[in-house]
Amino acid sequence: MQEYFIIIISAVLVNNIVLSQFLGICPFLGVSKKLTASLGMGGAVSFVLVLSGSITWLLQQYVLNPFKIGYMQTVAFILVIAALVQFVEMVMRKFTPPLYKALGIYLPLITTNCAVLGVAIINIQKDLSFTKALVNSLGHSAGFTLALVLMSGIRERLEEADIPESMQGAPIALVVAALMSMAFLGFSGLL
């Protein structure tokens, strides 16, 4: 049980997928204007991330390794993720249309979201067992949602702050992200 705890802590805090591994920045900057949109995005990415983490692991274990076609890894993983994202997109358009509109272009961009593919490859690189890979994906999706929610909380308060005109919007979001990633550097000594 203890390793799972370590895996989650390392995924959420120590090497947070967004703030210390630099993956998944596009949606992180694009969607984090409103809290509801970022929660929705966090949910969608977590769903895709956990599912793709497990499917890609099974794929690697029972298809890529036995047949020695490791080089297919990227193409196969991406295909799985793309199909999953398309599925999530349809489900959200049917059941939560306002959230679907709020996410807009950033929903299909989850496919190329570096975080999702990154976690899938990390699961294989660290050759974790199936349950560990699942826990790792869960941890990273929690880390992603945490970073997104923190960011949107700050950015909503930024609306009122009087920022020089040219720095409004993305530039100030990047500077805030810099400070947050500095804070997360503090966790690096944890494990």
Binding site: I78, T112, G118, P171, A178
Partner: protein
């Protein structure tokens, strides 16, 4: 749709990194030295060109509801092929570019351009758009790289500029990437307001 305008829009008006805020993941990760930036830019432009051509050729036969998996499979297979070919036939270039090629798969710009442009226009504009976007992205990368390399490791393309003690290692760490891109965007907004690019 004059082609020249398509080409230049990728560089300033619709610069993928500064304007559309896409491709930030690889941009922040590898822009610690100018030669990394150039390498990434070259590899990226190659793959974007290839995938834009193929997608714009196939745009009429791809059914809408499976368009994203189809695009993504095409892009990923191009990336793997270029990675293998370069590794086999041009080992020298591969030594410097090798690390970036798998990163290109997760670059949002390629799918973004495929979805927004290549799937709607014919081949020639797609080629021009790919070149424009590639050049724009490379220029943006090099700008970020120069700041980070000069401030972070005190060198420019390997040439030692600042004495050893001065450079702030922070600039090479993740926060440095964020700050550089943020301030650069702010500065460009200022310029854009003044000269209305």
């Amino acid at each position: 749709m004059n082609l020249m305008q398509e080409f230049t829009k990728g560089i300033i008006k619709e610069n993928p990194l500064f304007r559309l805020m896409l491709g930030t993941c690889p941009a922040l990760a590898i822009t610690t030295s100018v030669e990394n930036g150039l390498g990434m830019g070259a590899a990226f432009t190659g793959v974007l060109l290839a995938s834009n051509i193929v997608i714009s050729l196939m745009r009429s036969i791809i059914p809408a509801s499976v368009r994203i998996p189809a695009y993504v499979v095409i892009i990923a297979s191009f990336v793997t092929m270029t990675d293998q070919l370069m590794h086999a036939f041009t080992p020298g270039v591969y030594k410097s570019l090798g690390i970036f090629i798998p990163l290109i798969v997760v670059n949002c710009i390629i799918l973004g351009r495929a979805e927004a442009f290549a799937s709607r226009n014919s081949v020639v504009p797609s080629i021009v758009d790919a070149l424009g976007m590639g050049l724009g992205f490379t220029i943006a990368l090099v700008m970020v790289c120069t700041f980070r390399e000069v401030l972070g490791s005190g060198t420019f393309l390997g040439i030692q500029l600042l004495p050893e003690g001065i450079p702030a290692i922070l600039m090479i760490l993740p926060p440095g990437g964020f700050i550089t891109l943020g301030c650069l965007l702010g500065f460009l907004n200022k310029m854009q307001k003044k000269y209305a690019l």
